[in-house]
């Protein structure tokens, strides 16, 4: 293992690590705000990459129908709840229709634009517009009513959502894999190490997103509301912050980050309908580094997971996953020794 091999491995590891970092941030965000261990995080990656692949072929992706169906179900659930509370039928119907306008517009746009094969950047934006709204809708349908349940119950729901999304992905995108075109087809050679334009984009987008999240949490009212909910749900509610609203926002961000990661990684590897799970799981391992609470620690953990994975593949490729996932044990041990036992349930 000489210097050039180490360089290539490091670059490969950091490129993947950057993606894991994004997913780790989303996992930490969702857990901090809603206490949901969001296993389906990786599914958004697959949905993002494969929705773009469908648009590339000029087909209307199945995500359009999923978005419409979920929006309709969410509106119905909302309407039934309102009616029970004694709100008049006219008002309920009006609210339901209003909540359907945005998804319907996005779906129409996708349906109209897909056969025209717009430029790659527009397709990518359309993909984000299709996948990101799935987050809040899934929160509304699967988690909102259970917001006060235990972490374990929420975890079990997550497993269910994961299986449902994977199954639907198989229906929408088929069993075969897709590879998307790169956003920037450049290559910079430095000795044996070659840096691709796509890798640069991955670094750039990851860093930009982290800065954006930092600014969002530190300097906007909504971001501060999310942080307040993360610190103390009850306290935040007493201050007039809606827990459901915070949940929706965090799931929306998670879906957005997931879809974005899918767009980034879809050009460097072949994505299958079920590829997202393993990618999301590695993001989760990284999030454990931060104790599901610290964003910088999670991001550093992600880069470490990426590096470990690439070095592990080089030395013992058959045991690569074993190496990565065994890592979680000493980390958990270390964290529990350091912080002692504490209940996360009130």
């Amino acid at each position: 293992m000489d210097f050039s091999i180490a360089g290539i491995l490091a670059l490969d590891g950091i490129t993947n690590g950057a993606i894991y970092a994004l997913l780790a941030l989303a996992t930490v965000l969702v857990f901090a705000v809603t206490r949901v261990i969001f296993i389906p995080q990786g599914e958004f990656v697959a949905y993002g990459a494969l929705t773009l692949a469908m648009l590339q072929q000029g087909l209307v992706p199945g995500t359009v129908w999923l978005l419409l169906a979920l929006a309709l179900l969410a509106a119905l659930a909302e309407a039934v709840g309102e009616l029970r509370r004694g709100v008049t039928v006219g008002k309920v119907a009006g609210a339901a229709l209003r909540s359907l306008v945005a998804p319907a517009l996005i779906a129409l746009l996708a349906w109209w634009a897909a056969p025209l094969k717009p430029p790659l950047v527009l397709q990518a934006l359309l993909t984000l517009a299709l996948v990101a709204p799935l987050g809040p809708l899934i929160y509304r349908l699967a988690y909102a009513r259970l917001a006060d349940a235990s972490v374990l119950v929420l975890l079990i729901v997550s497993v269910g959502v994961h299986f449902a999304l994977t199954g639907l992905a198989l229906v929408f995108f088929g069993a075969e894999g897709f590879r998307n075109p790169v956003f920037w087809d450049a290559r910079f050679q430095h000795g044996a190490v070659s840096l691709t334009g796509q890798a640069l984009i991955i670094f750039g987008v990851s860093i930009a997103l982290m800065i954006a999240l930092f600014l969002f949490f530190g300097h906007t009212l909504r971001g501060k509301a999310l942080r307040a909910t993360a610190v103390n749900r009850l306290g935040a509610r007493l201050m007039g912050i809606s827990a459901t609203g915070a949940g929706r926002l965090s799931f929306g961000l998670a879906a957005f980050i997931g879809a974005l990661s899918g767009l980034l990684i879809g050009a460097t590897t072949t994505m299958f309908y079920d590829s997202g799970f393993l990618i999301g799981l590695k993001g989760f391992v990284a999030a454990i580094f931060g104790g599901l609470a610290s964003y910088p620690a999670a991001a550093l953990g992600a880069v470490f997971v990426g590096l470990l994975e690439s070095v592990g593949s080089f030395w013992a490729s058959a045991f690569k996953e074993v190496i990565v996932f065994t890592l979680i044990l000493p980390v958990l041990l270390w964290r529990s020794f350091q912080h002692g036992h504490h209940d996360d349930e009130e």
Partner: protein, 377 residues
């Protein structure tokens, strides 16, 4: 009302069992839904083209969906042997399902034609015959081609699952006999985001050829990674990668790759000397006449081959016993084991008492990717 309905059901059951005893009944379990549905559906299409009778006996096909679920496949097989009293079981196209069905077929003493290359423990496959080629037969064709190309060293880059392991074992054994050395073994999983590290290690050993063992579109990513590392040697792919998806995802990077394949799907391009030329052409012409040009598929070929072996074995078995009896089922098995060299659309098969795989070494064909299309080497 309830008694009336159960009476009706009983009469119906009586009628069907009467009918079953007069005809040759075949129970087929296919994955028509679930992950392997892509394999099962074209097979069902081919079974729909089956004739009404074989050797003057009426043919009664029962096709059930096993949803790619081993327990569903097993309950289908149980139904076949207890309720339908079938003379032969077909299925499944998914390996785990086929294995689950094998035990039931063996217990009932009914021949099972497997549509997947399922490995069974020794002594467990007395009643199970396989229609797809074994990896060893394909590895033989590949090693022969490597010898011609002057390849002396091979790097192996394969799935971490049973498919990768099976190929590693069969390929290493065959290659060693021909003096070809496997100089590096690297593994990856279909869902991996990168195989750069594995490709790096393999290419630094600089073998004459690299063998990639993966399936469909999953075979493209490692191929691209090896090419990206500037590897200039020959790259081989297995028959699981011999689909359009390899070229679709791999693009110009898979240009010049060698892919081993069964003969059925490339019927027109087969040299006239290949034994399967005629049968494979017949399969492709008939299938595409019914389902449109370009619809041919490896698994539909297995369904076609089912008919070929049945038409050869059933007349032999009929001489010994009547359909619907235990004796007929045993006679059918003996007929399969003794019918000798049989030309299928997928190659040449020769089942014997000890070998229920049976494909001979004249089966495999090496294709080269030229301008995004297959060309027989």
């Amino acid at each position: 009302m309830k008694t009336f309905r159960s009476l009706g059901a009983a009469m119906l059951a009586l009628l069907t069992s009467l009918a079953a005893h007069a005809d040759i009944t075949i129970g087929i379990s296919l994955p028509l839904t679930g992950p392997a549905s892509g394999l099962g559906i074209p097979m069902k299409n081919q079974f729909a083209l089956f004739p009404q009778s074989i050797a003057g006996e009426k043919l009664n096909l029962i096709i059930l969906d096993d949803a790619t679920d081993p327990s569903k496949g097993a309950s289908n097989a149980k139904r076949f042997v207890t309720e339908d009293k079938v003379d032969l079981i077909g299925g499944s196209a998914a390996t785990p399902v086929a294995i689950a069905m094998a035990d039931i077929a063996a217990e009932a003493g009914t021949v099972q034609l497997m549509f997947s290359p399922a490995q069974l423990p020794p002594g467990k496959d007395t009643w199970s015959f396989r229609l797809p080629q074994s990896n060893a037969v394909m590895a033989y064709a590949m090693v022969e081609h490597m010898k011609k190309q002057g390849v002396k060293t091979v790097g192996f880059l394969g799935y971490t699952d049973a498919y990768g392991e099976g190929w590693l074992k069969d390929f290493s054994a065959t290659a060693e006999k021909s003096g070809i050395k496997v100089v590096g073994v690297e593994r990856f999983a279909r869902a991996d985001t990168s195989v750069t590290a594995q490709a790096l290690k393999l290419t630094s050993a600089n073998p004459d050829a690299i063998l990639i063992v993966a399936s469909g579109s999953g075979a493209a990513m490692p191929h691209k990674a090896v090419v990206e590392r500037g590897y200039k040697g020959k790259i081989y792919q297995t028959h699981a990668a011999a689909s359009r998806d390899l070229v679709r995802v791999g693009g110009k990077d898979v240009e010049g790759a060698f892919v081993v394949s069964g003969p059925a799907v490339i019927a027109e391009q087969l040299p006239d000397t290949h034994p399967s030329k005629q049968v494979a052409t017949d399969f492709v012409v008939k299938y595409e006449k019914a389902y449109g040009p370009g619809s041919r598929n490896q698994f539909a070929g297995h369904a076609y081959d089912t008919l070929v072996v049945l038409e050869k074995a059933i007349p032999v078995a009929l001489k010994k016993a009547r359909p619907g009896t235990k004796e007929f089922r045993a006679a059918l098995r003996d007929a399969f084991e003794t019918m000798g060299r049989t030309v299928l659309s997928h190659g040449v098969i020769n089942w014997t008492k000890d070998d229920h795989w049976g494909f001979t070494n004249e089966t495999g064909v090496i294709l080269k990717v030229v301008n995004g299309d297959w060309k027989v080497e």
